[in-house]
């Protein structure tokens, strides 16, 4: 090994510990404020009384239950549609030969750069023409066909040995049967990775839902939270912090439980 002096080691350890501490402090500060009475939000006493009152009052001051329901519906709808549409498309690109293949594939890759997220005005006009403004469906529609999902699944499907296809066809399997019996089961790890990324992305998405929704019945958590936190009334910081943690809790807990899967899925999402 390359020489590592005791000094090096102490230096690196200290730097690591300091940086990690620095990174966790903002979150820890919010957690502290959320679990203590407002009087302690800026006073640090080890024995300050713990409380869940802030969560209770956040829950009662805004329709968070409804926001949670909206977000869950939204995320499930998008993921379901993405998996169906993108699996079909990815299979066609991975295994079938047809005219226009490369042009169409390029069109799909273009979505990785120009996402629907920035085409706000035009997509709003489309939704208005369809009469869908202020519906959960309208939040999800632009994301149903995901260029990234098609690309990821195509890559996965291409690694599946062709002999399996032939065997299945000899058995008299139709094209859809082949997709369902061979490709979908073997593509499951990639689908799971994509599912994690898709769920966390749409759970966190904000700008498009903000524009297209304007009622409690459709607003997802992120938009609900931003409205709750910016209404100027004297809402206490402790309560806002509680609401903030509450809305991120499902993802945060999921991450703590399935760290490895999260990190690997996010990595796959990055390396397109």
């Amino acid at each position: 090994m390359i020489r590592e002096t005791l000094f090096d080691r102490i230096l690196l350890r200290t730097a690591g510990a300091l940086l990690a501490l620095l990174w966790i402090v903002p979150l820890a500060y919010a957690v502290w404020a959320a679990f203590h009475p407002a009087a302690f939000e800026a006073r640090f006493e080890l024995l300050a009384p713990l409380t869940l009152d802030n969560f209770a009052s956040a829950w009662s001051q805004a329709p968070f239950a409804r926001y949670f329901l909206n977000t869950v519906l939204l995320v499930a709808m998008i993921l379901g549609a993405q998996l169906v549409l993108c699996t079909l498309a990815a299979f066609a690109f991975a295994r079938l030969e047809f005219p226009g293949k490369s042009v169409l594939f390029t069109l799909i890759l273009m979505q990785l750069l120009v996402m629907p997220d920035i085409l706000l005005v035009e997509n709003y006009k489309t939704m208005r023409a369809l009469g869908l403004v202020d519906t959960i469906l309208a939040i999800g529609l632009p994301y149903f066909a995901s260029g990234f999902a098609i690309f990821l699944l195509r890559q996965t499907f291409m690694t599946i040995p062709k002999e399996l296809d032939e065997a299945a066809r000899v058995e008299g399997c139709s094209l859809l049967g082949l997709l369902w019996r061979v490709y979908v089961p073997l593509g499951k790890p990639a689908m799971l990775a994509f599912a994690l990324v898709s769920v966390s992305h749409h759970w966190n998405n904000f700008l498009w839902p903000l524009i297209i929704t304007n009622s409690v019945e459709t607003r997802p958590l992120t938009v609900g939270l931003s409205i709750f936190a910016t209404t100027d009334s004297g809402t206490e910081w402790a309560v806002i912090n509680a609401a903030t943690l509450m809305t991120s809790a499902p993802l945060l807990i999921g991450f703590l439980l399935f760290q490895r899967q999260f990190v690997q899925s996010f990595m796959r999402a990055g390396i397109k």
Binding site: A20, A92, M115, I118, V121
Partner: protein, 290 residues
């Protein structure tokens, strides 16, 4: 090739393509077309404006401010998050007690919604309550409102972005570091090579593709992530944190000047395209897929 396969293939692609074209390609094209027309107002129908919207842009102080801000914002967040990410990856790329916790501390901001992150930091910055102000008061300094004063607002927004992004970029560097063969380390040790020389001559060149890849992502994010601006500053004070995408939102949905918003969107699309071409030319050939 048999015609039945073609038909099957097209049928399988059809649903995805319909959505893709309806919500990505068509709106991108109509955005460009709309940018050459005026916004219809009341009874006045939209008329052809030629380059009118683009001329207006060059004379629009808020647009120019937004471009300068976006440039500063990119110039801070991109190098800072990349350097920190690399530093983090180097720190946790060695076994020691608690390494899992340290990695978790770095990565956690990545899974939080940017809106939640903005709230957390707004509290952190809050004058009187926030930890930063507490420290200032402790040292006898006057209270300061970092997110609320023009001189520091943009930087405090940039810090939030860095906090959120660095841990995400770290995982790519970590993956790259783990592909560096152990034999190189041994060879370097035999040569009596110092830690710094090894880093500069071996590690750095080997992770170059990852660095480029991460940079392109950082560029795209610098123009795409504005959620925290909504909560922290709303583009203010005095346009100090006005970023391009936030300005598009304001123009399109607060002032309903959709034609001008379309022209602004064209600028954003152009920037993202240039970044994309950069990725294609620089990165794709050298990143190997796993």
């Amino acid at each position: 090739m048999d015609r039945r396969t073609w038909i099957y293939a097209w049928l399988m692609l059809l649903p995805a393509l319909v959505f893709l074209i309806a919500f990505t390609h068509l709106p991108a094209v109509t955005t460009i077309i709309d940018s050459f027309w005026t916004t219809a107002k009341g009874r006045r129908a939209s008329t052809f404006a030629g380059l009118g919207n683009y001329e207006k842009m060059l004379a629009d102080p808020i647009f120019l401010k937004a471009m300068v801000n976006s440039a500063i914002y990119a110039a801070i967040t991109i190098p800072a998050s990349i350097l920190l990410a690399l530093g983090m990856a180097l720190l946790v790329n060695r076994p020691f007690r608690g390494v899992g916790l340290v990695r978790m501390a770095f990565f956690t901001p990545t899974v939080l919604p940017l809106i939640a992150v903005a709230n957390i930091w707004l509290f952190f910055y809050a004058p009187g309550f926030g930890l930063i102000d507490q420290i200032r008061l402790f040292f006898g300094l006057p209270s300061a409102n970092y997110a609320g004063q023009p001189a520091t607002a943009l930087y405090s927004v940039a810090v939030v972005t860095i906090w959120k992004e660095a841990g995400f970029f770290m995982i790519f560097f970590l993956a790259a570091l783990q592909t560096i063969p152990q034999s190189l380390r041994e060879a370097a040790a035999i040569e009596g090579c110092s830690r710094w020389t090894f880093f500069r001559r071996v590690t750095l060149p080997l992770i170059m593709p990852t660095t480029l890849f991460v940079s392109v992502n950082a560029v795209i994010n610098a123009f795409r992530l504005v959620d925290h601006v909504f909560v922290m500053t709303k583009g203010g004070p005095d346009s100090a944190t006005m970023l391009l995408l936030y300005y598009i939102f304001e123009t399109g949905f607060r002032f309903w000047d959709t034609a001008y918003a379309a022209a602004l969107t064209v600028v954003l699309i152009a920037i993202l395209f240039i970044a994309g071409i950069g990725q294609f030319l620089l990165v794709d050939r050298r990143v190997h897929y796993k």
